[in-house]
């Protein structure tokens, strides 16, 4: 059984969410809600709610970045100071804590930011190749619903979409 993609474009967000509600309540064979992807010009937390909880791993990266980078940073600073014994500063120990704390703080931010960005790229699977079923209008003012389903149920889904006045339905022909 082969699977194919279909993208429906809506100009009315309410219709799009209705379409998703319908998809959710329909019981197509072998169709999972996970196969539905929403493409929109802005974020739609209210529609995402309908699609169910989809995991976001960014915070884990942030946590480890903010935890371990400052630690490593402190060790880096302290150990480089310890190897630079030839240059003692009058009145200060080789490893002075106040300046190192300042630097550790900067490393904390640095680690948090960098790991968050890294986590974003990984979790959102960026950079990615755009699939063919992309319409430039989703970046403008329309909302797209992309589904991946077996060819067999494609016509039924197409019908479902058509009920909600889509502007255009792409793909799903084979």
């Amino acid at each position: 059984m082969s699977k194919s993609h279909m993208l429906a474009l809506f100009s009315d967000f309410d219709q799009a969410s209705e379409a998703i509600r319908d998809l959710k309540s329909s019981n197509f064979e072998g169709f999972k809600l996970d196969d539905v992807t929403l493409k929109s010009p802005i974020e739609h937390p209210e529609i995402e709610e309908l699609l169910g909880k989809r995991p976001v791993y960014v915070r884990i990266f942030t946590f480890f970045g903010a935890l371990f980078v400052p630690l490593l940073g402190f060790l880096f600073v302290a150990s480089s100071q310890a190897t630079f014994l030839l240059q003692p500063k009058g009145g200060k120990p080789v490893i002075p804590l106040p300046p190192n704390f300042v630097l550790t703080y900067e490393f904390f931010i640095l680690g948090g930011v960098y790991m968050t960005v890294l986590g974003f790229f990984i979790s959102a699977k960026l950079p990615m190749k755009r699939n063919k079923l992309y319409n430039a209008r989703v970046s403008e003012d329309q909302i797209g619903i992309l589904i991946k389903a077996e060819d067999a149920i494609m016509p039924a889904i197409k019908d479902l979409f058509t009920r909600h006045n889509p502007l255009e339905i792409m793909g799903g022909d084979n």
Partner: protein
């Protein structure tokens, strides 16, 4: 650069330095702590020390225009102050103050250098590494005595028209533009004396080596030596004047003349001055 190194020697690295007792005759690396005592009562303000310093340390003659711009490079300068409550005439004469790098034990300049070009030597000197210096001039900002001099010009190419370069001291580098310099207590002389002493399995004897200013001073107003050696003249003078290297407020008798300049800022300078004396009944 390993964590084991950090952990094993943590208390060593956390120790404030120079730590009490670092300067000790029995220690391998800190047998010396160079210090000075400068008697303002017999300093006549004659500038012989300044000229000697020019000769010894290859200080450039900057000329009138640059002197006016504040680009003069005298590592030791003689300041002349009038008394604040002077009447019509300075009846008690002038106050002369030779001011050079005070080689502070807790030098404010050292901590602020971004590249570590100025740091503390094991002899208790405040060293300046010309090669490392990038010229941020932060040390000069933080020096309370303002005894650090920045090379605002490329003096090697202008200050010594031929054949004046023949006079340059080969033991001392000629500093290029863009770096900071200051009095070193004539470290080239000290190092030579130290290595000479080391080849003879002994320590440098008191009076064996002195900086150029001390050598030139016609009134011998400056005493220089190794303060670690309790028998050295300078150590005896410090003790006699009740000045302790590691105190910021000296508890001393009224009649004792020793003091250090701007002690309250806690840089712990290595130069002790002896108060100017005036016969108030004259």
């Amino acid at each position: 650069m390993s964590i084991t190194n950090l952990l094993n020697n943590w208390s060593f690295y956390r120790q404030k330095r120079p730590y009490q007792g670092q300067y000790d005759l029995n220690r391998q690396y800190s047998e010396y702590k160079w210090a000075m005592a400068l008697d303002l009562d017999i300093c006549t303000g004659c500038n012989a020390c300044t000229t000697a310093c020019y000769a010894e340390n290859n200080l450039p003659v900057v000329g009138k225009k640059r002197f006016n711009q504040g680009h003069v490079m005298h590592w030791i300068r003689i300041e002349r102050y009038w008394d604040e409550n002077m009447g019509e005439f300075p009846e008690q004469g002038a106050s002369f103050l030779p001011m050079m790098c005070q080689q502070c034990e807790e030098a404010p300049c050292e901590t602020v250098c971004p590249v570590g070009a100025t740091s503390h030597t094991n002899d208790g000197l405040n060293s300046q590494n010309y090669h490392r210096c990038v010229g941020s001039r932060y040390c000069s900002v933080n020096c309370p005595y303002k005894v650090r001099y920045f090379n605002f010009w490329n003096y090697p190419s202008t200050a010594w028209p031929a054949p004046l370069p023949d006079q340059l001291n080969p033991d001392v580098t000629v500093r290029t533009k863009g770096i900071m310099e200051k009095c070193t207590f004539c470290v080239q002389r000290l190092n030579e004396a130290k290595s000479r002493a080391r080849t003879e399995y002994r320590l440098v004897r008191d009076g064996e080596v002195v900086p150029a200013c001390v050598q030139a001073c016609p009134t011998s107003a400056i005493t220089f030596g190794n303060i670690v050696d309790p028998k050295s003249k300078v150590a005896m003078m410090w003790k006699n004047q009740q000045v302790d290297l590691y105190k910021d407020m000296q508890e001393k008798d009224n009649s004792v003349r020793g003091y250090r300049i701007l002690e309250d800022l806690r840089p712990f300078p290595s130069v002790m001055y002896l108060e100017r004396v005036r016969d108030m009944e004259a």
